[in-house]
């Protein structure tokens, strides 16, 4: 109980500014002839924490992967931090260096040590001197509570540890926005908590976060807004309490009843 109250208090400190971090207007995407994303409109303010949920195949991954251009959209506009995503490589690089991404399967680089995983992008993309990059990396490893693993290889870590390394790796680039694509769904139950705790801490520091997840507890604890997607559309979005207690559309109700196991 007291934990929940502490969370509530922490949450009131999480500031959402008026500044727009991500603006998506009338965005459409096709895979070949398959229409995956339809007329997506969405604005994310700086400091906002958004959870995206929906049934499998509804296009959640595709949507957040469009935000750092791992997928290309065909219609409409995506503006990230004031930079519009077009085929212009300069813009793409700029956006990617400001947007961190955490994947379901971690995607750590298995041939590099944990420390090298963390310092690679700062050194080669940001041109940070190695010594400074090492310090930053150790700082973030401390934050995700595994500084002692710095010189191991990813294959020697547990899933939960690997995912925390992946989060730290993104943070080392000092991103202004973090994207999470089902960060806990490849993990054993006992490891889910350690990763969620890391994410909650990040949220409490005011990071702008977009998170695809089915962890409804997490959504209730930290999200400002929950977005429900189905068949490539944003069906409904609301502040978490309202979203869970008072869903509007039938599809949302059905989804929630399935996922919450009523």
């Amino acid at each position: 109980m007291s934990e929940a109250i502490a969370r509530e208090i922490a949450r009131s400190h999480m500031q959402v500014s008026d500044e727009i971090a991500i603006q998506i207007t009338q965005m459409n995407k096709w895979y070949g002839t398959f229409h995956v994303l339809r007329d997506i409109n969405m604005t994310v303010n700086r400091g906002e924490r958004i959870v995206i949920c929906g049934p499998s195949g509804s296009g959640k991954s595709t949507l957040i992967r469009c935000i750092n251009r791992l997928e290309e959209h065909q219609q409409g506009q995506i503006i990230v931090d004031g930079t519009e995503l077009t085929s212009d490589l300069k813009n793409i690089d700029k956006v990617r260096s400001e947007v961190g991404m955490v994947f379901q399967h971690f995607n750590l680089f298995p041939h590099l040590t944990i420390l090298e995983n963390l310092t690679l992008a700062p050194i080669w993309v940001r041109k940070t001197p190695k010594k400074e990059a090492d310090e930053v990396a150790m700082h973030y490893l401390g934050k995700v509570k595994i500084p002692e693993q710095a010189h191991k290889y990813p294959g020697q870590l547990s899933g939960g540890q690997q995912q925390r390394v992946a989060i730290a790796r993104s943070l080392c680039m000092k991103p202004r926005i973090m994207l999470f694509d089902e960060p806990t769904s490849a993990l054993d139950p006992e490891m889910i908590k350690e990763v969620l705790d890391t994410m909650i801490e990040l949220a409490e520091e005011g990071m702008t976060m977009l998170c695809v997840t089915h962890e409804m507890g997490f959504a209730q604890a930290v999200a400002n807004r929950v977005i429900f997607m189905d068949q490539g559309q944003i069906v409904e979005q609301n502040e978490p309490k309202e979203f869970f207690n008072n869903p509007q559309s039938d599809r949302t109700k059905l989804f929630l009843s399935q996922i919450l196991g009523h």
């Binding site: 750092n68 990617r96 947007v99 995607n107 041939h111 690679l120 294959g155 020697q156 680039m173």
Partner: protein, 436 residues
Amino acid sequence: MKATSDPFVRREMLAPAAPPITEAGAVKWMRENLFSSPLNVILTVLGIGAVVYLVSHIAPWMLRGVWNAGSLSECRQIIEARYGEGVTGACWALIRERWPQYLFGFYPSELYWRPVLAFVLMLVAIAPVLFDALPRKMLWFALVYPALGFWLLWGGSVWVPVMALAGFGVGYVAAKVVQPLAGTILASIAAVLAPVLWWLFAAGPVAAALESLIPIALQEVRSREFGGFILAFTIGFTGIAFSLPLGVLLALGRQSDMFIVNKLSVGFIEFIRGVPLITLLFTASLLLNYFLPPGTDFDIILRVIIMVVLFAAAYIAEVVRGGLAALPRGQYEAADALGLDYFKAQRLIIMPQALKISIPGIVSTFIGLFKDTTLVVFVGLLDPLKGITDAVRASTDWKGVYWEPYIFVGAIFFIICFSMSRYSMYLENKLKTDHR
């Protein structure tokens, strides 16, 4: 906290009792590995039988061998005198007398120090490439070595290899100049085009001019005088050094989304792999002359090396492509998401992993390449196996000798190929980081 009477604590472990004899040492090992089942027993007996049969036939012949003799007939006399009428033995005296020819071909004997020095320096040059415990600064020597080795082997003006090296400097400068003006793609084109133009049109005259100003030259040795193992090494090692980077580029080309690059790579790889190496070598020795402007004297060894490089590169490209295909998509995505551009992602993330997976295939290709250097005999070069052996047997002293030279040459090839294979296993072990 302390208990009134100290509890019993064992200070020394009891020595374990010896296991029963059937569970220990050699007996156990043999039972498990040689006689574990009826089939295993049969195979063990047959295998040992085969080895005994072979050794009992070959070893005495080799051991009866004679090292000191001036001709084959002298060898035979000595053996018959020693072991009796009709007994045969190896005539190693041939190798004792002719080994310089096997190593150097018809390279002028007063200049033997040059290939020897080139060989030693080659070992120095490849050492830092093979073993990363050595200081990284030594890699600079590895980069300069091709020009130095060339100069030592062929001689001539020092300015020719220096100007050849300068081509890379020209490429670097061109890229640096073009980059801010026209972007990365044009800069990469300039980085390739400028050196090629330099080598074709400027390097020769500039080298000649410098030579007349500051003459530094070694006595020239013509390619036709090369033979034996220096020929095999020159072709083999140059082939290995250049086919790997070319193969990697071809593999990337084959993966590329750019239509022309992709189709050219596929066409090249499939064409080269579809044609026997000998065809390429004949092309090198005969046809190339028709295509080149008349009067160009394009060295035969250089032509052969180019063909061998192209041939091996096509195979390596396919091996590397297999390595690339084995990498999960997530690796590319993570590299992209971190903001690494294509070249950095390839260099830092993709290639190190793909090459690691491909090590056995790449080394197999290298071993094949090295052994294939003996095929140059078909274009009139004196390879150690047939070229030199035929030359040796043409002398009256050694007419009729058969096995000994092949065993000798085979043994040297084996040592080198076996070392490569061992090195590849060492490397695989060293790079093993997945711990799964």
